[in-house]
Point group: C3
């Protein structure tokens, strides 16, 4: 994994979202739980725009899963904007095929089917709905690698998505270095605070001392 992605993943979505707040960037995605909790990821978005409608709205060929399952590549995060619809944009075999290409994760504002099998892919899969409603004639893939919107947050191709059980942060590609540096600072300070709390300090004392200690070593947080 790219070092800057690893630093963001290690800082965690909550810390990255706090940093985006400091910079005035709207990048906090909520409402897409992980199919299996416990995993985390960071990687550039391979974006997918999907339209959805009732059964029979589109031709079967409009639902071309291969455009993402077979084309997103190593380290990328497949990010699908299906407008939050309760319909599946892919299932177990597509997830498995993508994982074999080295895809880092899926982030779907819509649904996925074969929930029992999605874990077999071995990568984090965050989806608004785990549903058996199949996408054939209900979904049309409009475009890949254009701008999309996930849970109200604008996502451009190559923006970096950072996810864990708390949610998902979208870091704009142009802000990557700055956000990673700040997130590293905050995460480092918080690790010290956690240690001090375990040693018996109160929450407020621990944060005060951790901030002083970390700033003495690394300078103050700059934004």
């Amino acid at each position: 994994m790219h070092d800057i992605h690893e630093r963001l993943r290690s800082a965690g979505a909550s810390t990255v979202c706090a940093v985006l707040d400091m910079l005035g960037v709207a990048g906090t995605i909520t409402g897409l739980p992980a199919i299996r909790p416990g995993a985390s990821f960071a990687g550039p978005a391979f974006t997918v725009q999907a339209s959805t409608g009732p059964l029979g709205t589109y031709d079967p060929g409009d639902f071309d899963i291969a455009r993402y399952a077979d084309h997103a590549g190593a380290g990328q995060v497949i990010a699908i904007d299906a407008g939050g619809a309760r319909v599946s944009v892919a299932g177990g075999i597509a997830a498995l095929a993508s994982a074999r290409r080295g895809v880092a994760a899926w982030v779907v504002d819509g649904g996925m089917r074969d929930v029992d099998e999605l874990g077999e892919a071995g990568i984090p899969i965050h989806v608004r709905h785990g549903v058996a409603v199949t996408g054939r004639t209900r979904v049309r893939i409009e475009r890949v690698n254009g701008p999309i919107v996930i849970d109200g947050v604008a996502v451009e191709p190559k923006d970096v998505l950072v996810g864990d059980a708390s949610g998902i942060a979208c870091v704009p590609a142009q802000r990557l270095d700055r956000v990673a540096a700040m997130a590293g600072w905050v995460a480092g300070r918080d690790r010290i605070a956690g240690r001090l709390v375990r040693e018996g300090l109160s929450f407020s004392r621990a944060f005060k001392e951790a901030t002083a200690e970390y700033a003495a070593l690394h300078g103050p947080l700059e934004n």
Copy 2:
């Protein structure tokens, strides 16, 4: 388990829903997660119609859990239409009593209480709400083994409910053989596709080859 039920259970809810789509049958139930994930089931519905209201709406005797917990039988799925209300229609002891009669699963468009104990019954339990709101004087059992509606899907007694982590499919009793045959075809083809993806083929290549291979052995999918 009846062989045709086992074939539907093994195919899985996502595949059965896809087959119902092909036949133009509206049978996909969503929004009722399993209390404990990982299990799957298929069996004919023992249907229950319940009315609900605020505390004090009904007489205590109107909430007659025994009408389903003690009467649904081996292999059946207790399916309760409580209109999606956030109120419990049964708890841990009722679930256990039904499991001892051989009931296959519960599907409840409403609530169940004693969530910590429901797992002890050892059968899949899909419920819209796990809640401590008890049904006494809030629930009246109106009718068993009449037509009901679960999450907008019409369910008749003896329709076969097929469920897993992706959701629940309702297969009309008159379509059972056709749906099971088609679901077996699709599931067999998908097993080959999954194997080919694990062997390194792309998603699109795997499906193309799996379809050709399965059709050569078993003939084309007919609907």
Copy 3:
């Protein structure tokens, strides 16, 4: 743990809610799932009233987590009314600091961040939203240990909160003895009913016999 709290915890939220029903007390809280299922708790509320708004609504100093993480004490349940907002009122380190003080649980009608780390605190944490939306400049702590409302239920300081996977019951401080006595009766009767069902009795027979057996030993349920 105080003996009366232990009796309520052991009876479980579903049973305590049923008893509150009998007494005409509105005390059933729903919609706040546990971050990690399987635990249960009972203890007096340390109440917190929080206002929330979009980023930049409040001064950073208004979000004073220490007022609860460092002041709630042994056996208490931190209960935060944030109006159900999708914003974090605390994270992993605050939860850990509170647990070291002996806090019994958190009940939050709002959000918490650092979901992956909340389990480390080792206490039950029930929250409407696990989210990465940080509270700084979005949350103002208005008051501690005044009256609050959680999911529509009025909670006063020292009211006893009883929680498990089915939900949370709020027992008014003045009714504590009566509710604990009744909940103990119902839970004792239900334990016998569960045993009889496991021995093969039907649901209705088991409840009839368990009620007679328990009443013979302990007198009838009085309310």
